[in-house]
Amino acid sequence: MALVMRLMVALLLWAAGFSALYAVHGLGCGLGWGDRPALPPFTLLNLVLVPLWLLFLALALLLLRREARRRDLDSRPAIRRATLAAGWAGLLGLVFMGAPVLLPAHCL
């Protein structure tokens, strides 16, 4: 199971990041953070969502770097390729899908 989890861990991180961004966005809008200036011109919601996104990006990058350096799957090239593919997808998925948090207006 450890290997199956290793195959999926970057994608689980993606899922956690995507869910967290969507959930915090929904709650933030519900709590009025989108209209509350915190550090002009940024709102409180900007200041929560962008660091959250960056945190998940950093974690995904660390995971991918760690996976790329490991050599224990060299004897199983197909599984190694699948693990790397999942790692890249987790990282790039977070970059692409999370990038909209850089938009200025969140709750319109």
Binding site: L7, A15, L31, R76, L84
Partner: protein, 833 residues
């Protein structure tokens, strides 16, 4: 031992009983897989007839063929049958039939669960079909949006038929998902590591995992809407704190992954059949495996693109638009792997390949219009028009039917031992392909011209007349194609030439079985050393038939197969499978009684039916297990492994893990719904919030701690073989758990507001019910283990049952505490109000 003698011995052990008794008690994966596929084919035919009626109605403007009431039932039943009764059960059937053969196993991990799922599917389908025959079919569209499907606007029984019938069928899908997941991970031929698994198994594994977490949101949504309709609890009623959008969220949390749940097995067929047809191993196996995983995950990040027109904030639109566009990437990775494989090979345009070519053309169009629909402005433009109908049919027919038909023609010799006539098959293909494109290509234009979906008629002169007529003619051509296909297969089954054992010269294990396959599949199990076990091992089939592989002798009349370590594929245990049984059909009947009691409003009967289900489940568990230690047993090739009762990670353990994942997803969906209503719901804050109760919290936490410690002590005592001490400790755990449930119940009765006044009360009562139901289940499990210890079914070597119960107990206690916290949280914090 001669092959014939071994066959005789194994056949007696594995074959189903004869006559009607055999029909009802059969648990064999091949028979059940065929039943699923045939029944799904029948539902496809019924859904197809409904489609013909829809197209007959829309062929001309102002048609008086059927009225709006019947038309609403037609399109609702067409969508529901095709999605729930055809597509999913068909690939479940294919997976059930093929997986053990591909993996080199003798059956699935839980044969009686397969049979139970089959009966649930059959009985659930009966509910839907009977309602349709009586003119009481659901009529609110296959996604049953509220408030249209709420009691106010659909006062009859029609929506209840959908909610209960489909949920009954979903029980079958959840059973299949757990069954398939554990089978792929645990029941493979020794030596078949993850990297040596047939690519089809990877597709089915990811699909099954998606089902494990994809179906619970729909089951929750259906449960909540049925409770609202039956008892007036306002989850979706905006006047009492509910929100109709909650239904859409929960439905599409299931509904969008569902598209990929349908597509992935079909893509698995392409990845299996195409390399054989082009005489070239699949290129980029590792990248394809990676892309399947990525597709499985990303498909859960798209559901809101079905809700782009509901007025959600722009940031959410952007998040889901990006996700919807990005999901094309892993799909295209597979497409390029297939193209590269074709490029490197020597394609032969035989019938399965023809259907794969049709798949490429149609699915590509469906994928491209999918990317178009992912773009918010375009989505708004064509929202709820015929363009979307055209898109979804290109994805589902192009992406599922065409590959599956390739698979049907490819595996028909394996299934029946017969071959079809190539000319009739090609005629069927061209009729289906031409008819399909005539129907749906032009439908894009109809949509772009502004024709909405689900309208029973339209005035002339809007530019919709000719496109609709062409679509209707095309659909009838497609029907002729499907009829030709059925005739072709029927003729092959009745009069077809006998097929050789491996007519396509494929290299996967299913072609090593005799034709047709015996009930036990393989007389002995192979040692797998590559991804293509039959490649350059032409004598493997004969060698296995002579019993020269693993488990080449029958032992004590038991149904045995081998369980492996997940990653390496090393043999780890002998899995002893249960034999023919009445329990699946009887349990499904009892569960059917529960659903029928709800459907007809005889609510007092529903708990009675559930108690019967519980008693049968107890009986089910009693018939499993072993009452003596056997230790490591020889399995051939000089290896010895213990039976699964004595193994640490037996299939039952993993089955429990995935069942709990399903359960936890259901609970998480409920918590999501609660948070959604609290953040977005109109009419919040509720008139009264629950005050946190220190007393209830203290009793619950301390009783939970006692239950944990007592179970721990019981487990340790059982592990030392101290039966009496273990039984006593488990009884203490039972009492402590009872106290937990009692504290939760008293807290609810004294503190929770009425569930009818406001959605807050309704949701909190559902959460409380969730905690109590789990308390009851865990209580029964603890009592069961206490009894099993007393009767000698647990020993220091045989700890599987206490381990499984430990899992459920931990989950239950965590869920109960979480329920308490979730209910009390808004009252404890000032929240947003």
């Amino acid at each position: 031992m001669s092959a014939l003698k071994l066959h005789g011995e194994l056949d007696v052990i594995w074959r189903p009983e004869r006559g009607w008794r055999g029909v009802l008690t059969n648990v064999n994966h091949s028979d059940l897989g065929i039943r699923f596929m045939v029944a799904a084919g029948v539902y496809f035919a019924i859904g197809g007839v409904l489609a013909m009626l829809i197209r007959a109605q829309l062929a001309t403007p102002r048609s008086a063929f059927v009225g709006p009431e019947i038309y609403n039932q037609l399109f609702t039943m067409h969508g529901s049958l095709m999605m729930f009764m055809f597509a999913i059960p068909f690939f479940e059937g294919l997976a059930m039939y093929m997986l053990p053969k591909l993996l080199g196993a003798r059956d699935l991990a839980f044969p009686r669960l397969s049979a139970f799922g089959w009966w649930c599917y059959l009985f659930g389908g009966f509910i839907l079909l009977t309602a349709m025959a009586l003119g009481l079919a659901p009529d609110g569209g296959w996604f049953m949006y509220t408030p249209l499907a709420s009691k106010t606007y659909t006062p009859g029984i029609n929506a209840d038929v959908w909610l209960l019938g489909v949920t009954f069928v979903e029980v079958s899908a959840v059973c299949a998902s757990i069954e398939i997941t554990v089978t792929v991970l645990k029941l493979r031929a020794p030596g078949m590591s993850l990297g040596r698994m047939p690519i089809f198994a990877w597709y089915i594994l990811v699909t099954a995992l998606m089902m494990v977490v994809g179906f619970p949101p729909l089951i929750l949504a259906s449960t909540l809407l049925e409770i609202e309709r039956a008892f007036g609890w306002p989850f979706f009623d905006p006047e009492r704190g509910g929100n109709p959008l909650l239904w859409q969220h929960l439905f599409w949390l299931f509904g969008h992954p569902e598209v990929y749940i349908i597509f992935l097995p079909a893509a698995g067929v392409v990845s299996t059949v195409l390399p054989v047809m082009v005489r070239q191993a699949l290129l980029g196996y590792g990248w394809v495996v990676g892309s399947i995983l990525v597709l499985g995950f990303f498909s859960f990040g798209l559901w809101v693109h079905h809700m782009f027109a509901t007025g959600i904030p722009h940031l959410a639109l952007a998040l889901f638009s990006a996700a919807s566009a990005l999901v094309a990437v892993p799909t295209v990775v597979q497409l390029f792997a297939w193209l590269a494989t074709m490029w490197a090979g020597r394609p032969q345009m035989r019938l399965p390949m023809l259907y794969i070519a049709g798949f490429f053309f149609n699915f590509l169009l469906g994928g491209l219009t999918g990317v178009m629909l992912a773009m918010v402005p375009f989505n708004w433009q064509v929202h709820d028009t015929a363009f979307v109908t055209a898109h979804l049919h290109y994805v589902l027919i192009g992406g599922f039917i065409f590959p599956m038909l390739a698979g049907v023609y490819y595996w028909l010799p394996r299934l029946s031992g017969r071959r079809t006539h190539p000319l009739l098959g090609k005629l069927a293909f061209w009729l289906i392909f031409t008819g399909f494109n005539a129907t749906f290509l032009v439908m894009h234009l109809t949509g772009l011209l502004g024709m909405p979906r689900r309208v029973y008629g339209y005035p002339g002169g809007l530019g919709w007349d000719w496109p609709n007529l062409i679509s209707s003619v095309g659909s009838f051509v497609m029907t002729f194609g499907f009829a030709t296909l059925v005739i072709d297969i029927g003729l092959a089954l009745a009069f077809g030439r006998r097929s050789s054992r491996n007519p396509w010269r494929a290299s996967t294990l299913e072609w090593a079985l005799p034709m047709p396959a015996p009930a036990y599949n393989l007389a002995s199990l192979p040692h797998v050393t590559s991804r293509d076990p039959l490649d350059r091992r032409h004598a493997l089939a004969q060698s296995l038939a002579r019993g020269e592989g693993y488990l080449g002798r029958s032992r004590d009349g038991l149904r045995e197969t081998i369980g492996v370590e997940m990653a390496s594929g090393a043999a780890s245990e002998i899995v002893i499978l249960p034999g023919n049984s009445w329990l699946p059909v009887v349990t499904a009947l009892a569960l059917g009684g529960f659903f029928l009691a709800l459907l007809f409003g005889v609510y007092w009967l529903a708990p009675v039916a559930l108690v019967i289900v519980g008693a049968l489940a107890w009986r089910w568990a009693v018939t499993l297990g072993a009452d003596r230690d056997l230790g490591a047993l020889p399995i051939g090739r000089g290896e010895a492994v213990p039976p699964h009762h004595e193994a640490k990670e037996a299939p039952g353990w993993w089955g429990s893990i995935f069942a709990l994942v399903t359960d936890a997803t259901f609970f998480a969906s409920l918590l999501f719904g609660y948070a959604f209503l609290a953040a977005i719901g109109p009419g919040w804050p509720p008139p009264r919030l629950v005050e946190p109760s220190l007393g209830a919290s203290a009793i619950l936490a301390s009783a939970a701690l006692v239950a944990l410690l007592a179970e721990r002590a019981g487990f340790a005592a059982a592990g030392r073989g101290e039966r009496e001490a273990a039984t006593r400790a488990y009884r203490v755990a039972c009492a402590a758990l009872l106290a937990c449930a009692g504290a939760l119940l008293v807290f609810g009765l004294l503190g929770l507001p009425s569930p009818r006044q406001h959605a807050y009360g309704a949701v909190t009562w559902v959460m409380l019910g969730y905690g109590l139901v789990h308390g009851a289940i865990a209580l029964a499990m603890l009592a069961f283990v206490a009894r099993r210890i007393g009767t000698g079914f647990v020993s220091p070597a045989r700890m599987l049952e206490p381990r499984v119960v430990r899992l459920w107990l931990h989950y239950t206690l965590a869920a109960m505490l979480l329920v308490l916290v979730a209910i009390a949280l808004p009252g404890a914090a000032s929240w947003r109000w």
